[in-house]
């Protein structure tokens, strides 16, 4: 477990956040710009000295102001990846990577040099200077450098925000591999819903310096009472497994509790986990199953909650399909015409699915 509690006041801004997140997987700190998520991350790193703070990583106490405990940043076993890559301009890539590695006692090293170099594919860059690298390459080096410093906790402050969409696509697979292959917990700050739904296992929502809600990503995104549901791109994330292939139509059948869907995808191994994202705008509801529709994926579900969307024309509905939750955004007019209420049995028609991993 990672337990943190920080109180910090600037002129016009107050951070008062307490969080408790699992010490495995990726925890996303998510919220609009200026909500204090980066400040919270800096507090965890010890770069920002809060008026009153408490931080425990696994069993180690890094900060407890009631007991005058404050471990300075350089003695905390953490890695920090900043928004801009921040490589040391006077050192080549190899010596950038060595900077933290050489300062870590051999007994504490968790990942070998070769493995980190391989994992982030920086082997061919070792003798280049930072200003000769592309933005994506620099960020990969920065991530490798952080990982080589044997962190017990990896902090990432919008590591993809400074990159264009192309470079972002280039880096994301590396972040996923990192998460799959290393058991380092990650605190990941972002205001991009797509990054969060792709990478995170756990979600902490921040607003105005305070934690609004915290919990497993799939549960959090399925809630209608949180700011995430008001987002234009609101939607759920579903963990599924590859259950079969349809060779004839080049489709893959993905199973999850309560149903299955088909997606068009290259053949993947049966049983492999696949993360799906289904946006509320891509889900419509019908009172009966429409066999005369082009929509391939239809799942029987029950309405469990109705709420107003941010746009006054629309309503958000939460659907329960045998253990899996879906969100749908439809018009109030449709709600009235179909006489939808909580408990209504409907067919959820899924027009589009994003395969995230």
């Amino acid at each position: 477990m990672i337990r943190a509690r920080f109180v910090l006041a600037y002129s016009g801004f107050r951070l008062q956040a307490a969080l408790e997140v699992p010490s495995q997987g990726v925890t996303a700190l998510f919220g609009p710009s200026g909500c204090g998520k980066s400040t919270l991350l800096r507090c965890v790193a010890g770069l920002e000295r809060s008026a009153s703070g408490f931080l425990q990583v696994n069993a180690e106490t890094w900060q407890d102001d009631t007991q005058q405990i404050f471990l300075p940043t350089h003695r905390r076993l953490l890695g920090f990846v900043f928004q801009e890559p921040s490589l040391f301009a006077h050192l080549d890539v190899r010596r950038n990577l060595l900077f933290g590695y050489a300062r870590t006692p051999a007994a504490q090293r968790k990942i070998s040099w070769d493995r980190a170099v391989d994992l982030l594919d920086v082997g061919s860059l070792l003798h280049r200077m930072p200003d000769g690298l592309s933005g994506g390459e620099r960020q990969r080096v920065a991530i490798a450098r952080a990982v080589l410093a044997a962190p017990r906790l990896l902090l990432m402050d919008e590591p993809l925000a400074a990159l264009d969409a192309q470079r972002k696509r280039e880096i994301l697979p590396f972040l996923e591999r990192l998460q799959q292959e290393l058991s380092i917990p990650v605190l990941y700050v972002s205001h991009q819903a797509d990054e969060v739904s792709r990478l995170a296992n756990h979600l902490v929502l921040l607003r105005d310096g305070q934690v609004v809600a915290s919990g497993p990503l799939t549960q959090m995104l399925a809630r209608l009472d949180l700011p995430t549901a008001e987002d234009e791109d609101a939607g759920v994330v579903i963990e599924s497994r590859v259950a079969g292939h349809d060779e004839r139509y080049h489709l893959v059948r993905l199973e999850f509790p309560g149903g299955h869907i088909f997606v068009g995808r290259e053949a993947v191994a049966i049983g492999q986990p696949v993360r799906l994202r289904i946006q509320a705008r891509d889900v419509s509801v019908a009172l009966s199953e429409h066999h005369d529709s082009s929509i391939l994926n239809r799942i029987p579900a029950t309405i469990v909650e109705l709420a107003s969307a941010s746009n006054p024309a629309n309503a958000m509905i939460r659907l329960e399909a045998g253990g899996t939750t879906l969100l749908a955004r439809i018009t109030h007019r449709s709600v009235e015409q179909l006489q939808l209420t909580t408990g209504s049995k409907v067919w959820a028609q899924i027009k589009a699915v994003a395969v995230l991993q």
């Binding site: 790193a45 770069l47 350089h74 801009e84 040391f88 006077h90 900077f99 933290g100 952080a146 410093a149």
Partner: protein, 310 residues
């Protein structure tokens, strides 16, 4: 038809003195070879020398400076237009050596002193930052004589620094090489602090934060990250400090006087030559100083950190 004159070819011109004056004691017009474009400018320049430059030396001799320097009143102008030849005396060499030693010691001391000051100014949020900044920059705008005067008083036998140095058994600093070093360090301080401070400010706090997150202690981060990143600033600070000390005059005059081998630096020696109307020697020293200063400054402007010329 007569051919058009070739204005670009070197030609001989006769430069006549202004109608109501003569060229010092030089009888007859001077023959000089110059390119055509320079003709008018050269004529004007020679007139200025005649009317203002050389003529000015006479009246100035009545000021007290000359007495203080221990020079004698000049003989009538007789040597001013002699063609310069190699006439550097052992005294001149001694002044050159002394100047280089002074500039070297001052530059080294300044790098040691100015770096922490620049660091503090770049990173502190203390309310003393403004006043200290102003204090460090003061020599930039103050006449060197003012600084020299206060230092002379402070380092004199009744001044606070003078009492301290006497109590420590160091004697009095004025009119000694060590006094020159102290004064020059203070006088050249802004030229060294400013570029280093700019370099620290330009790289900002981020590299230090990154270093801390990679387990580098603050001191480790300073030497391994902040200083190497500030290298261009340190280099420029060192060059400016060195060059500025080479050309220093006013402070030396006030604090060091004109003691051969001890405080008679290059600028002082040039002054002595000019006072004694030994223009050729003055030419050699002044020209060398100008050339060195020019080369040093040009080196700064050609310096490109990305090309790693240094």
């Amino acid at each position: 038809m007569a051919p058009a004159p070739n204005w670009l070819a070197p030609q001989q011109y006769r430069v006549e003195p202004p109608p109501n004056r003569s060229f010092a004691d030089h009888a007859g017009p001077t023959k000089i070879t110059i390119s055509a474009q320079m003709r008018n400018r050269t004529v004007r320049f020679l007139r200025i020398i005649e009317c203002e430059g050389v003529g000015m030396l006479g009246p100035r001799s009545q000021y007290g400076v000359r007495g203080r320097l221990g020079c004698h009143a000049p003989e009538p102008i007789t040597t001013s237009r002699r063609v310069p030849k190699m006439v550097i005396s052992p005294d001149d060499w001694s002044a050159v050596r002394l100047t280089l030693a002074l500039a070297g010691v001052v530059t080294a001391s300044l790098l040691l002193l100015a770096t922490p000051i620049a660091w503090w100014l770049a990173h502190s949020s203390s309310r003393w930052r403004g006043p200290i900044s102003a204090l460090v920059t003061l020599p930039l705008v103050l006449p060197p004589t003012v600084l020299g005067f206060y230092l002379l008083v402070a380092m004199g036998s009744n001044g606070p620094i003078g009492r301290l140095t006497q109590a420590l058994g160091l004697g009095l600093l004025p009119f000694h090489f060590s006094g020159l070093v102290v004064a020059s360090v203070l006088y050249s301080m802004p030229f060294v602090v400013q570029p280093i401070r700019n370099a620290f400010e330009a790289s900002g706090k981020r590299p230090l934060e990154v270093a801390a997150c990679l387990h580098a202690s603050p001191l480790d981060a300073f030497f391994r990250v902040a200083l190497p990143l500030a290298r261009p600033g340190l280099l420029i600070g060192a060059i400016l400090g060195f060059a500025h000390t080479l050309g220093e005059f006013g402070v030396v005059l006030m604090i060091g006087g004109n003691i051969p081998g001890e405080t008679r630096v290059l600028s002082m020696q040039i002054y002595n030559h000019v006072e004694a109307l030994e223009y050729s020697q003055a030419h050699w020293l002044a020209g060398a100083l100008m050339a060195i200063s020019f080369l040093v400054l040009m080196a700064i402007y050609l310096y490109d950190p990305k090309r790693r010329m240094f």
